[in-house]
């Protein structure tokens, strides 16, 4: 099923759709307050864009600098060209130390690589420790948002999930009660873990260290207890200098949730005492995107989720309607770049309203990319013969004004006389929820010509 069908299902529950829309709009409004409270907001965005553009253009240089500096600090650096290599490296590192219990903090990259099922098949227990991610993990679902993974769930549903898996009181869905229960549950997992995996928000070339931003402190707890810490990082997470970091941390938290800063901004520049810190640098299709001028800006993304919160389509269709790891506008362009055939409906799950491009802290031209991806869909022959033919015929008519005039005239004559049963038959998709416009007697052109003749 493509986005239109999945969206229609989500919309069918009108109450829930509006609840979802309002929850995300609330986050968007919080972001607006925070963004409008900083006079330098627009210049911060511009600087962020320039740093990203510069870094992506010289990515090979900065990646090597990062590797060199990280190694000097005693960190291990691995390179993975795709998801498979990434997952194999993680497994090997775990097996080398005999680790069996992995605690993970939020990492969309490992979602993208489908790491959890791979490790589980190989006998590793993987526990997502971000509260939202743990909820969806227990339910065997994918995150529906990159910052708010369980935003599609109501507290009653979380209560039921915890009742089943964490043995909480029946029908108790008090958020504080449930959070405490999750905390007890996760504490035990943290204490028993023998390895941790985190994502990376920023890799600093100049220092060779990585920075992880969370609100729950789960990355810190996870990586401080076990002796093995693996950090998975997409190649685009590099920034050149430590002093560039504040530009992004100021933008990130405000754009994501309207906070001035994330509760924890943790810098990892050395392993814990007697432990190992491994950084896996992952490509998985990113260098192909860099090679395409139309889409390379999509690698400027800092995963704040603002474009998702602002998207009027996402808010009314939910993250699962996209069928790609990252939902919403940025996910639609990344998904289309990655696998156009599978994700061919995503560039069209958009009205081109351009709210995303204007909310984006890195000033990514997201909506222009979706517009361009549509052309790729057509050139790949994936639009569907019917739609393409209709537009081809329409174009032909538009090149023949007399024909258009004639067709319009006939339509204005005939349509008003048609019975409703024919006019609103199944083929009239417009008419499912809307009346057709009232057809006038004359076109503007006819009236204009009459007027000119009278002059």
């Amino acid at each position: 099923m493509g986005h239109p069908e999945l969206a229609e299902k989500f919309i069918a529950n009108n109450e829930r759709m509006h609840w979802h829309d309002k929850a995300l709009w609330f986050v968007r409004e919080k972001r607006d307050l925070a963004a409008h409270g900083l006079n330098e907001w627009e210049s911060l965005r511009e600087v962020a864009k320039q740093i990203k553009t510069h870094t992506i253009d010289k990515l090979d240089f900065y990646l090597e600098e990062f590797e060199k500096n990280a190694k000097e600090k005693g960190l291990h650096v691995h390179w993975a060209k795709d998801a498979k290599e990434h997952n194999e490296i993680v497994l090997k590192l775990l097996l080398n130390r005999g680790s069996k219990k992995l605690v993970k903090s939020k990492s969309m990259l490992t979602e993208e690589c489908h790491l959890n099922p791979y490790l589980e098949e190989n006998g590793i227990e993987v526990i997502d420790t971000d509260l939202g991610e743990r909820i969806v993990q227990l339910r065997n679902e994918a995150p529906s948002h990159i910052v708010l993974p369980a935003i599609h769930l109501k507290k009653e549903e979380v209560g039921k999930t915890f009742e089943k898996f964490l043995k909480t009181e029946k029908d108790n869905c008090d958020p504080t009660y449930l959070t405490r229960a999750a905390r007890v549950h996760l504490r035990e997992k943290f204490l028993n873990a023998d390895a941790s995996l985190t994502g990376v928000n920023f890799g600093i070339a100049e220092t060779g260290g990585v920075v992880v931003c969370t609100n729950e402190g789960n990355a810190d707890l996870g990586s401080s207890l076990p002796k093995l810490h693996i950090a998975s990082m997409g190649i685009e997470k590099i920034i050149p200098r430590l002093k560039d970091l504040s530009i992004f941390t100021r933008l990130l938290a405000r754009s994501a949730t309207g906070q001035p800063i994330t509760s924890y901004t943790s810098h990892f520049h050395a392993p814990v005492e007697g432990g190992e810190l491994h950084i896996i640098i992952v490509d998985n299709g990113r260098s192909d995107i860099i090679a395409n001028d139309d889409f390379k800006q999509s690698l400027h993304c800092i995963r704040c989720g603002a474009c998702i919160n602002t998207c009027p389509v996402y808010r009314r269709s939910g993250g699962h309607s996209y069928g790609y790891t990252i939902p919403g506008p940025i996910g639609s362009t990344l998904g289309a770049s990655k696998d156009l055939r599978t994700n061919k409906t995503l560039p069209f799950a958009c009205t081109l309203c351009a709210s995303c491009s204007n909310v984006c802290p890195s000033k990514i031209n997201i909506h222009n990319q979706l517009y361009k991806h549509r052309q790729s869909v057509v050139s790949a022959g994936l639009l569907g013969a019917k739609k393409h033919t209709i537009l081809k015929v329409a174009t032909w008519v538009m090149k023949h004004p007399a024909l258009l005039d004639f067709g319009g005239k006939m339509a204005r004559k005939i349509v008003p006389k048609l019975p409703r049963s024919i006019l609103y038959s199944k083929v009239n998709v417009w008419g499912k929820k809307r009346e057709l416009p009232k057809f006038p007697k004359n076109s503007f052109k006819e009236l204009y010509k009459q007027r000119e003749e009278k002059k």
Binding site: F348, K399, K433, E435
Partner: protein, 246 residues
Amino acid sequence: MRIGLFIPCFMNELYPEASMATLKVLENLGLHVEYPTNQTCCGQPMANTGCAHEAGELAKRFLKIFKDYDYVVAPSGSCVAMVRENYAQFLEGEDGFEHLKTHTYELVEFLHDVIKPTNMNASFPHKVGIHNSCHGHRELGMASMSERNLPAFSKIEKILGLVDNIEFVTLKRNDECCGFGGTFCVSEDAMSAAMGIDRINDHLSAGAEVMTGIDMSCLMHMQGIIDRDKLPIKTLHIAQILAGES
């Protein structure tokens, strides 16, 4: 000053009043306007569906018809955005394109930026909600966007404010999309309708009697919902208010 009037293809066929009102607004201001009758479509529906070849053919046609005018004016933000933002892919370097691109204006934008009228000689004693349709809003910059931290302004409110007795309502979501989106309105029809209903309800709860805007396509979509659901509000193209119609 030679002004070429571009009337979007569907407006020509279905909305002769709004089209005529556009002509009247310009003529009432003493401007000389020509309507080249061999014009059809700017190619936007094709371009937004990814049919670059087809869109390119229509872009070339548009250039040929309109390149010799001092200004091209159209009662549609999205068609003008097509010319200004998206034609380059098809017409870059063509003779007259640079001029066309920089001299094609949406009606209200043309009044605001070029003609600068101080009076419209029109009265509209109603409570009006402005629908900031996206392409005009975010591509042409008709008003400040809620996403950005820049000084607030609205060209639409400024020009409409010249009409006597008009009253504006305050919306909860000032610049949310109505869900028309070109072929989106049929390819994602459930979503499109859901977005449209939400937009109309915002105007209704703000007490608007009339929803107006610079894009007939968004208004056509929402009027379709209003008619189906028999809602106590109506849509009217901005040109009709500016021309003193009601």
